[in-house]
Amino acid sequence: MESIIDTTKLELTKKDFESDQMVKWCPGCGDHAILKSVENVFPELGIAKEDFVVVSGIGCSSRFPYYMNTYGIHGIHGRAAALATGIKIANPKLSVWMITGDGDSMAIGGNHFIHVARRNPDINILLFNNKIYGLTKGQYSPTTPKGSKTKTSPQGSFEQPFNPGELVMGARGKFFARVVDTNIKMMTQVFSEAAKHKGASIVEILANCVIFNNKIHGLITSRETKVDNQLFLEAGKPMRFGKDNEKGIILNGSHLEVVTIGENGITEDDLLVHNPEREDSGIHIMLANMMPPEFPAALGVIRSVAAPTVEELIWDSVEHEKEVSPYKSVDDLLNSGSTWTVD
């Protein structure tokens, strides 16, 4: 099948993708930086501008298609994954980007989310996780930490949250990455990796809702604490982080552990080396589950495993059936099997 990545570079710039519509997110909302990053990535992919489709569900993040000058469809709550799947299967040439939030894809669209991960169409899913319902003004979401006081959990939420990465891998997803909305460079790089991965690429963006859940990712993103709480994963590299890159992650028996190089005889050789292409998702799940304060949050591409896409398999089957089917036209089909003629 034809690759969506064209080798002849098209002369596109950010401007080609900026829409003339007023961007109506709150000032200070993390979504602005995400939009910028996407506008950075699109012209760099070697894809014609008319081949991009931006798809969304409902929520603050889901207004995204209106802010991009591409083909776009703003769907209904939770169903963007189904829309995107239909678009991609119907026309595999398109570069399909799905924009969703933690309410949209972890709650009402949870079913479609796990199935898009399992089915593996070649689409890019940007999951804006601000751990709150923003557009309905501040109710807890399926990623809101237990105990959080919100408008619908005034005594503190009683519910255990999802970790999107763990869910993706539980659903046998092949690509999962995580970024922070405070780092445009990181987002640009990782979105680009997601675009290049063939299959459902799910990127969790730790996004800040400045109004209803300000600084929810503060430990990970704030200037003071981020060095100790961000581990940017790179394929083939040992997992190191910290102000002086002095800390690392080791696999101790069946669990991960933070260590300091030089202490207790630990050297760099003891550290886990990141392998996003490992088919077995065990360590990837453990990485996705690392959270401060005990662990740094794993960022970058946590998992990226090659697998055939659903649309590839479907259209290969179409080609095969065209060759082997006895029916070359619908007339052949109508006249097949038991028929009789009246003269």
Binding site: S19, Q21, A48, K49, E50, D51, V53, V55, S56, I58, P65, Y66, N69, T70, Y71, G72, I73, H74, G75, I76, R79, A81, A82, L83, A84, T85, G86, I87, K88, I89, A90, N91, K93, L94, N111, H112, H115, I314, S317, V318, H320, E321, K322, V324, S325, Y327, K328, S329, V330, D331, L333, L334, N335, G337, S338, T339, W340, T341, V342, D343
Partner: protein
Amino acid sequence: MTEVKNKIIELKNAVIRFAGDSGDGMQLTGNLFSDSTAFAGNDFATFPDYPAEIRAPQGTVAGVSGFQIHFGSNDIHTSGDLADVLVAMNPASLKANMNWITKDAIIIVDNDAFTEKNITKAGYEDNPLSDGSLNGHLVVNGPIATLTKNAVSELDIDNKSAQKSKNMFALGMIFYMFNRDFTKTFSFFENKFKSKPLVVEANKLVLKAGYHYADTIEAFVNTYKIDPAPLNKGTYRNVTGNLATSWGLLAAAERSGLKLFIGSYPITPATEILQELAKHKQFSAISLQAEDEIAGIVSTLGASFAGALPVTSTSGPGLSLKSEALGLAVMTELPLVVVDVQRGGPSTGLPTKSEQSDLYQALFGRNGEAPLIVLAASSPSDCFYSAFEAVKLSVEHMTPVILLTDGSLANGSEVFKIPKVSDLPKIYPPIVKENDPDFQSYKRDEKKLSRPWAIPGTKGLRHRIGGLEKENITGNVSHSPENHELMSRLREEKVERVSNFIVNQDIIGDHDADTLVVSWGGTHGVMLTAVEQLLDEGHSIALAHFKHIKPLPKNAEELFSRYEKILVCEINLGQFVNYLRMRLPQFTYKQYNKIQGLPFTVAELKKEFIALLNE
């Protein structure tokens, strides 16, 4: 004994009902008889009657599976009210079907199955074969199981396998009764069991044994012959409604140049449509078995945006789940065909029984002002043409269409004259060419009010659509009060203008009658038969059977104005009649309704019509 035995009596038509335990292969038996009926040149219609459970407890009334065929030398429009011949493979199937046979029906039973245990299981106190309850019937009471075993005694086959053929023994008896030829059935065995020559041989032997048994014991006083029906020149086949629907969709894909996409979720009685379309990737027809009903319709709408011919299939409860996405289709003004194979509701209701009770849901079941086209297929073979038209209207008018069929149509079968696809109308999708300088996403066609279909991947047409209200012409998001009213009216008007593109409503029967009976959808066959019989009997009556529900045909008003008495008949509590009362309130409508999960019978309709005629 005199020589009059085995007189061949000519009949105009007959109804046979095959009934047995759900594992007894009665559907296959019925289908094989249908094939031989086609071969004999009769017109026919069939209907399966099977339990909701795949294998309900053996020997119980709940586990009875039936298949009815009505065949004749005249035009056959229904699967028949009551059976003239009942094949009952066990006591439960006799018990379950006694209400569905004529007073003097011939009953063929497997005596071997009438054990004390089975008789009790069926809920009989005494053996119905000997307690006099079958008086008035000719009961042909053969030890079918034993005779089946004997028939294959020469073959190296165990009795358990041999017993699987006992339905063929009964079929053989029926073949004798109706002077049928084995050819078609033998070639079926040869095809179906290609890799199992022993099974082919066993079935052939048993079928023949049944035939000869009926002959030898002089089972029937007479045998019967039904002349070929006067069918027009052409090639024919047997189709069920679900098969015809699937093929109509494929034909429409070919005539539109679009690639079909069906995103769907299995649900009784619509599943066969997804199954059938999944077989035809050679036509670039793509099927996606979605994770739920919602993903079924939404993935289809995505495919529609991407330029495919979009279809989703469902039944009542599934249509409920699809409501919100239907609203999105109305708002985005994209093509989308939803086939709703209606079943008894509400909720899970009667999954294997038929009803016409989704009409309100199809017309009104969405938030906001959300008009769309509603069509209703009238017979199994009409499902082909209705599906084709649903696509044509949806694509050319850029609007969702709900096509209502029902369980009776879906599973019932009839003779279908095979059309040539090139004789079907061409379908013209309003696809915008690249870099069209006049393109605006909500600029409408003057006549149809449809918006253009600008497919992602086309140069120079990038645009955004979605569920938020759109500004007329530009398609930008708009919250303007005036624009919302304008758009609401335009969407309604767009659907109503479809009446300029559909055929006028026709009238069957006596155009000068005072009395008009009205129906819609799957009741066509039984309504037509009742009216034809009354006309033959000298009554003056007319029938208007609707396929176009929204919009109504343009002449509906003029047509109703010609009749003094109007009676609307439906398998629900009056959904179409109330819609007519809303749309054309100047007329007085009487209503006749039945809601038992069963079709109308010709007899009950005639009784009702005669009462009305005499009023």
